[in-house]
Amino acid sequence: MTQPQRTAPVSVILGALGSIRSAILPAIAIAFSGIGGDGRFLIAIGVGLASVVIGTAFAYAGWRRLTYTIGETDIRVESGLFSRSARSVPYERIQDVSLEAKPLPRMLGLVAVKFETGAGGGDDLALEYLTNTEGERLRQLVRERREDEAAASADPDTAIVAPSDEGEVLYTLTPGKLLTFGLFEFSLAVFAVLGGGLQYVETVTDIDVWNVDLWRGWLEEQGSVVASLGPYAQAAGAIAGLFGLIVIGMMTGIVRTVLRDWGFTLTRSARGFRRQRGLLTRTDVVMPAHRVQGLVIGTGLVRYRFGWHGLSFVSLAQDAEGESHVVAPFAQMDEIAPIVAAAGFALPDDTIRWQRASKQQRNDKAALDAAVFVLAAIPMAIFAPFGLFLIPLGLAVLAVAANLYAWEFRRHALSDTQIFATTGLMSPTSRIATRLKLHSVEIAQGPLARLRGYATVHLGLAGGDFAIPGVPLAEARSLRARIMETIAATDYSRLDQAFSDAQPGFSANRLAT
């Protein structure tokens, strides 16, 4: 298994298809422009053909010149037509192996294999495309190599879980639940897309989208029609419009959610967590359990009232969209608890002593937020028609109320091994991290915070942020002292028995850092 290998030959066809796609537009442009007079269609076809031939040739040459080698200690990829590049990724630096199948490759039975190293997104090693079986085999192989290496350090995760490769299903998103999830993912993003489309229409046609007179004329025309309908019909029209907006928003949410999370399955196997999801682009990601640095439990304004939450893992490798891997996008807390336990974390129980955020900080923040609106009200009271200044004043009251309510969520707690913190404006977002896996503790204070005796505690978490705002200063110092105690204690024991198996968890931990 140390011979250099090539990716699947069919990828050449995919490369060629890609070049056709990029050749179509210029060809059409030539066909409809004045270049070449009567012969322009011939020129267009010629240009199209030429770019397809060149594209295919490059795809073929690129395929010929790209080889990958599965070595004893690393994976090596050599590529490049004129300038050769060779990249080697050691097995212990591979955070995740993910398989991604976009619609077209999926039809041909191909996957893109990505080796995520946590080197900051774009610099990851990717092989496009391998056959499904080859992708699976490669992933299995990387896992086994890592297992060999882990066997030396006696990884506790493998010891606890029976080494079955099937794994137990921890969480699935049934179509019914997916639909409910979609309803909560209400989004009006489609209007932004429409706006972009309009802009495009403007550049192609002569209609000036931003011409106010055009719209006013149109509105007056429509307005006179509406005015002639009478008050009831007007109200009905407004309600129908609002209703339509809500339906569009919900449909957008459902479509987006179904595309992204169709068939969402999270399984726990010997080597970690495996997540599969997606309708058209199907992704398959494996996350080793000991690489999980922290957990984030988020929720939304409305769904929180129905008890729905989402769970993400914070790890060094980055997910497609965000810094953390979504492992349960839409679940009740009793569904989340087993996943949390499987990742080696624990949810806060009743015995935990929650510390509230400083009341001074709450008052300051409420006053500052309200002050913005009050300041805006002053010029309005002077210049705008009477009564309009009540709007910013009302907003100021709302800002105060929102801040007072948000304070209810702002709290933190320490357990023997973990730290919990909750923040949020209208709904709580909880973060859980292992005290051991923190890298630094910072107490930050602005001028106001110093005057009023509170601070923000920033914890250095690999792969994510962990900040606790508004902690009273004395509490912040004791928090830091206790966290540092945990870290320092591990440090000493590690120094004493650096290579013994008595602290196996920590060697895995060090690998993660």
Binding site: P90, E92, L316, E323, L438, H439, S440, V441, E442, I443, A444, Q445, G446, P447, R450, H458, L459, G460, L461, A462, G463, G464, D465, F466, A467, R477, R480, A481, M484, E485, I487, A488, T490, D491, Y492, R494, L495, A498, R510, L511, T513
Partner: protein
């Protein structure tokens, strides 16, 4: 050049992370002053250019632009470096380094040696002239990925680097 501080930092009690801070090398204030002066020079030149451009105008008193700029620059050069110097400090103990900085926005960071990924000692041309250096600790956390401690005497910075490095167990790659 003032006197160099003692090379050995007293190891404080491990638990007391709010104890007395060790001051930076006095030359750090001088280095800051030189740096502020260098930053101020372009502004002064700009002010003088504006001044000459408006010289022909009637009723334009000379020094109305360059004067205030000069006063502000002098205040920044004379006052601020000393306050900044006084606001900064560090505390090194057996297993951790604490760095305090900031005038308005105070920040007080503790980095355990057991979590340091690698260490830098940097010296710019001004630093080299004053015999000081910046010690930077890199951690794996997203926040505070690198914590720097400027204004250490150059030999002290190297000594601290060696001391911290002794705590880092090398991972075989």
């Amino acid at each position: 050049m003032d006197h160099a501080p003692a090379l050995t930092a007293e190891p404080a009690l491990p638990e007391a992370d709010d104890g007395v801070l060790t001051k930076l090398h006095p030359n750090y204030a001088h280095a800051l002053r030189v740096r502020t002066t260098l930053t101020a020079i372009p502004f002064l030149i700009g002010a003088l250019v504006l001044e000459t451009a408006f010289l022909g105008e009637t009723g334009f008193p000379s020094g109305i632009i360059a004067g205030p700029v000069l006063v502000i620059a002098l205040a920044l050069i004379i006052r601020i470096p000393m306050t900044r110097y006084n606001a900064r400090g560090y505390q090194i103990s057996a297993d951790r380094l604490r760095v305090v900085r900031g005038l308005l926005f105070r920040s007080d960071t503790v980095v355990p040696f057991g979590r340091v990924q690698h260490i830098d000692v940097q010296q710019g041309p001004i630093d080299r002239f004053f015999g000081i250096a910046t010690l930077t600790l890199h951690t794996a956390g997203n926040h505070n990925a690198s914590v720097s401690l400027p204004g250490l005497g150059e030999p002290l910075a190297r000594e601290m680097r060696e001391e911290i490095r002794a705590h880092i167990r090398r991972e075989t790659l």
